[in-house]
């Protein structure tokens, strides 16, 4: 976990440096859940340990979650398969999404913003550029993030054995919620 935090912080710091002074919003307790709705089985799991930063000045962002922090599943064996066989958490322990916000919005001003985030979604070690629709509700000191999107397995080379094809959906729907708070300026 410490490793993960440091990656995100390094990224955030890099952004801050590049822009001189930034309004950095961050969280370490974001919620991310996924649901796979296959004909024979519905699998869902949630992690409450998603970390994220948004630089309101540069309109850049970075989010990360440790795959092993997901909880839920229908049974322990399923969870083990999810970790070891499909996402290979030993090799690829985290999923990340980082990039820029396309719309030119001022997140330091309170308001609700529908934006599109464009960035590299990295799951299972494979990156895919995605433009995701995100709702941002800012109070000036806090930003509530919520987004739902689909992750096609094929985009990230997640291979599912044919025998369980009917149990795992080809497109996994993912929902993200989090409240990012403005870091105290040093």
């Amino acid at each position: 976990m410490i490793k993960l935090v440091s990656i995100v912080l390094l990224f955030a710091m890099a952004l801050t440096k590049a822009n001189g002074q930034g309004n950095i919003f961050s969280t370490q307790t974001g919620t991310i859940s996924f649901i796979s709705e296959a004909p024979l089985e519905i699998i869902s799991a949630t992690s409450k340990k998603m970390e994220g930063v948004i630089d309101a000045t540069a309109l850049s962002f970075a989010f990360a979650v440790g795959i092993r922090t997901f909880e839920g599943f229908n049974n322990g064996l399923q969870q083990q398969h999810f970790y070891e066989n499909y996402l290979e958490t030993d090799k690829y322990p985290t999923a990340t999404y980082s990039g820029k916000i396309i719309e030119h919005v001022d997140l330091t001003k309170p308001g609700t913003y529908q934006v599109r985030a464009k960035g590299q979604l990295n799951i299972h070690g494979r990156s895919k550029e995605r433009i995701l629709k995100v709702e941002l509700i800012s109070t000036g000191s806090e930003i509530k993030v919520s987004a739902t999107f689909l992750v096609p397995l094929v985009d990230h080379q997640i291979e599912v054995p044919r025998i369980v094809n009917q149990k795992i959906a080809q497109e996994i729907s993912v929902a993200v919620h989090g409240t990012l708070t403005l870091a105290v300026k040093p």
């Binding site: 396309i102 719309e103 599109r116 464009k118 433009i131």
Partner: protein, 850 residues
């Protein structure tokens, strides 16, 4: 990154790792490369430099780019459209939401023919920048669920195609647009879109490519049994088994008309005033006014020839009906609803029998044509009605008159096309001569109809054959979506815009002629050829022993690759074309000569306009057929023959001479042996011996006779064994020694007595020695005979007689030398030293010569 331009290989390491989204050349032939990730780069002839003009430096992701007609570069980015003017002065302008762009993420740009720019947006479909108003308008917004625009392309003039990941939309200039139903096989995301010069729309989908033929538009009105079509009042009229329907051209909405009339419609015709004339099966003729919805009903009671009307055509205020019982002519003045209709039956007027008439066609030149069942073609011209005789011609290769004619259509220059049984189509000139002949093997022709682009459409069961005015034909069949195509006979109509509507029982096809297209050819490509000297198209010269020719080719016809067939021919070898589906031809053992290989590909088995691939070569004659070889060989043979003959002559002469020499020698030997002196001396000796010792005398006579026997036996032989010669010489020496006693001493030193020697040669030498030297008590003569491996040497000291023997002719030795000259290369050696005379004769070891 590397690029090929003018054969130059440019390496741009600075672009490595980023996606190239566009390669653009402006009018000044400058190369610009737009990337997705690293902005825009300019090639200055040596290196690539990133364009860093103002905000461009910050733009990394460029989705698409193009040069507009003013030479400005349009860039599609996440931040709207940037318009960059590369030349001096450099300038940059921006189109974003403030300028009316519905969405700032611009994914596609397409330059329309008129200079407008079509804009594909991530979330809001398609917009357009109109050049004359300098504004952006939204052309078609899409529901966000459909996805972002990933492809834009021009279609027909005024038409555009737009693809999102999950849909394809056709947009028309008039603002209408239509989402195309994607086939179920398109499971993946749409990747790219392309519209080709022949009107095919290509769609990349996953790892597959789909092609759509946009010449045909299909409508399924939900009615079956469509048997006739007409166009009037902006509606397509469908004549069905169940009655009359009108279909809105724009919205494809169907309404039923004359619902109270029970009518099974077989034929329809729109007159110049827009009235719809409807021919039914058994229910006579209707006239329907689409505007007022009034109608008129005429039957046999009103004077029609028959109530079943197969076809209607007309001019102005006259129509003709092709019925199951002959022909009727109907004419009116002004408005047919005003009861001044006159009906004339051709049965009465021209005594035309009550036969089936399948088609009536009022040609543009005023002639009206009738195709009958079994009676052939009739023409009605200037009030005259007559049988139209076709003049049998070599083109059709048939003497038969076409008896049954299903369909008639106009050709160019007052010619007509008729279709008969078995898919036969004839083009007839003004006086009935057959100008062209077309034998389709794709089934019965259901109708012939002309499109506005002077194309002849032959509607068949298997598909639609379109022949353009250049005679090029194209078959649209299953691969164009015409599967289970069962068209109704003569259920076609040409629309005002030149398009053609065709009924297919429960479907309606709309054929829209494409801009004049002469590209409908299978493109031939050479895959491989051996020998490789045939790779270039120049005349190749092949050696006689390397004329195994293997040519592999392919024909590109992406619309339907499986339909391509080939024909090839090697002129100089093949008498006729070879028709095949194979992708190769092999020839071997070609005799010397000049050849031309031609292969053509066709997608419809019509090779008349096929593109061909040719190779010309000469197989050179083998060296043994070249002039120089033949001449050389003749010369050589002459020379060999000459040499042989001369040698032979020489040899014969030599043999002849040898024979002569031998004869002479033999003669001489005999002469020598029967020399009276020899005999006299021998007999004197014998006389002396007889008295002294009778036994010795007997012995002497034995020796003498043995010597003569030897002479007689061997004188004719060319060679004798050395032992035999030595035996004979011993006999001779015995005789001599009886005479000379101790005065003659013979030293024999015979180391080896094998091989062959000329007969009487040693004897001759011994005889010569005695003949030329003194043999006396004071001066005894000692003759030594030495035989070794190779030579017989006879030597004696020289003690010349004072009166040299007069009988010596010197012939003996020289003839021996001459004889040896024929027998061997080794010469007889004669050495005359101060006091010794020695002769060495070679011993021959070869097998005895014949």
């Amino acid at each position: 990154m590397s690029a090929h331009g003018n054969g130059k290989h440019i390496v741009a390491d600075s672009l490595r790792g980023s996606l190239i989204s566009g390669l653009l050349f402006n009018d000044a032939d400058q190369l610009f490369i737009t990337t997705y990730g690293k902005g825009i780069w300019k090639y200055d002839g040596d290196t690539f430099k990133r364009v860093g003009f103002r905000e461009l430096a910050q733009i990394d992701d460029i989705y698409d780019a193009l040069f507009d007609l003013q030479g400005r570069m349009w860039l599609a980015t996440d931040n709207g459209i940037w318009i960059y003017q590369p030349g001096a002065p450099e300038s940059l302008s921006h189109i974003g939401q403030d300028q009316g762009l519905p969405d700032e993420i611009v994914t596609q740009l397409e330059l329309a023919v008129n200079g407008d720019i079509w804009i594909g947006l991530y979330d809001h479909g398609m917009a357009c920048y109109t050049i004359d108003r300098d504004t952006v308008v939204s052309l078609r917004s899409l529901q966000t669920s459909i996805g972002n625009v990933i492809g834009l392309c021009k279609g027909r003039p005024g038409e555009g195609w737009m693809a999102t990941e999950k849909s394809i939309v056709r947009y028309n200039q008039d603002g209408s647009s239509k989402e195309i139903k994607l086939p179920s096989e398109m499971k993946d995301r749409v990747g790219s879109l392309l519209y080709d010069i022949s009107g095919n729309l290509w769609v990349a989908n996953g790892n597959k490519i789909f092609v759509a033929n946009t010449r045909f538009e299909f409508t399924e009105p939900g009615i079956s049994g469509i048997q006739a079509l007409a166009v009037s009042n902006n509606q397509i009229w469908l004549g069905c088994e169940s009655g009359l329907y009108g279909m809105d051209q724009q919205h494809r909405q169907i309404n039923r008309y004359l619902a109270n009339e029970k009518m099974n419609i077989l034929s329809m015709y729109t007159d110049d005033a827009g009235m719809l004339w409807i021919g039914t099966f058994g229910q006579g003729l209707y006239c329907f006014d689409p505007r007022t919805k009034r109608h008129l009903h005429l039957t046999e009671k009103n004077g029609l020839s028959n109530n079943s009307i197969l076809n209607i055509d007309g001019h102005g205020e006259t129509i003709w009906l092709a019925t199951l019982g002959g022909i009727s002519e109907i004419s009116w003045k002004g408005n047919p609803f005003n009861n001044d209709i006159s009906i004339t039956g051709f049965n009465d007027k021209f005594d035309f029998p009550e036969v089936y008439v399948y088609d009536v066609f009022a040609g543009p030149d005023g002639r009206v044509w009738f195709g009958t069942d079994g009676k052939g073609l009739y023409v009605y011209e200037n009030g005259q009605f007559r049988f139209f005789e076709t003049k049998a011609d070599t083109i059709a290769q048939t003497d038969d008159q076409p008896k049954t004619i299903y369909s008639i259509a106009a050709g160019q220059n007052n010619t007509i096309w008729i279709s008969g049984v078995k898919g036969q189509i004839l083009q007839l000139g003004e006086s009935g001569e057959i100008l062209d002949h077309f034998q389709g093997n794709q089934g019965l022709i259901k109708s012939l109809v002309l499109s506005g682009a002077n194309e002849m459409l032959m509607i068949r069961e298997a598909g639609i054959h379109v022949m353009n005015r250049f005679g090029q034909s194209n078959l649209y069949a299953e691969s164009s979506g015409l599967n289970s195509f069962t068209p109704t006979i003569n259920a076609t109509v040409q629309d005002k815009d030149g398009s053609v509507w065709i009924a297919d029982t429960d479907k309606i096809l709309h054929y829209i002629p494409f801009r004049e297209d002469t590209h409908q050819q299978v493109r031939m490509h050479l895959l491989s050829i051996s020998p490789t000297s045939l790779l270039n198209e120049q005349f190749a010269l092949l050696k006689a022993d390397s004329n195994f020719i293997n040519i592999r080719y392919t024909g590109l016809w992406y619309q339907d690759p499986a339909s391509v067939s080939y024909r090839y021919r090697l002129i100089g070898h093949d008498q006729n074309w070879i028709y095949t589906q194979d992708l190769g031809a092999v020839y071997s053992n070609l005799s010397p000569g000049q050849y031309t290989f031609i292969v053509e590909g066709s997608h419809n088995e019509d090779f008349s306009n096929a593109q061909s691939l040719t190779r010309q070569f000469v197989v050179s004659p083998p060296f043994y057929l070249r002039w120089w070889f033949i001449t050389g060989t003749c010369l050589l043979i002459t020379w060999i023959a000459y040499t042989y003959i001369t040698a032979r002559i020489k040899r014969i002469n030599k043999l002849h001479e040898l024979e002569k020499e031998k004869t002479m020698l033999q003669l001489h030997a005999i002469q020598a042996q029967v020399n009276p002196h020899f005999l006299f001396n021998s007999f004197n000796t014998l006389a002396g011996i007889i008295e002294e010792n009778q036994e010795a005398a007997v012995d002497y006579v034995d020796q003498l006779s043995g010597f003569f026997r030897g002479v007689l036996t061997h004188r004719n032989a060319e060679l004798i064994r050395l032992e035999e010669e030595l035996e004979m010489v011993r006999n001779y020496i015995y005789i001599l020694q009886k005479r000379y006693g101790n005065n003659l001493r013979i030293h024999e030193n015979i180391a080896h007595a094998a091989g062959w020697i000329a007969p009487l040669s040693i004897q001759l030498l011994v005889e010569n020695a005695i003949k030329h030297n003194i043999v006396s008590a004071e001066k005894p003569l000692s003759i030594s005979i030495v035989v070794d491996q190779e030579w017989v040497a006879v030597s004696n000291p020289i003690q010349p007689k004072i009166n040299a023997s007069t009988e010596s002719t010197g012939f003996g030795l020289s003839s021996l030398v001459a004889r040896y000259g024929y027998l061997t290369d080794r010469k007889i050696e004669i050495r005359k030293e101060e006091n010794t005379f020695a002769v060495r004769i070679p011993i021959l070891y070869n097998d005895k010569p014949v």
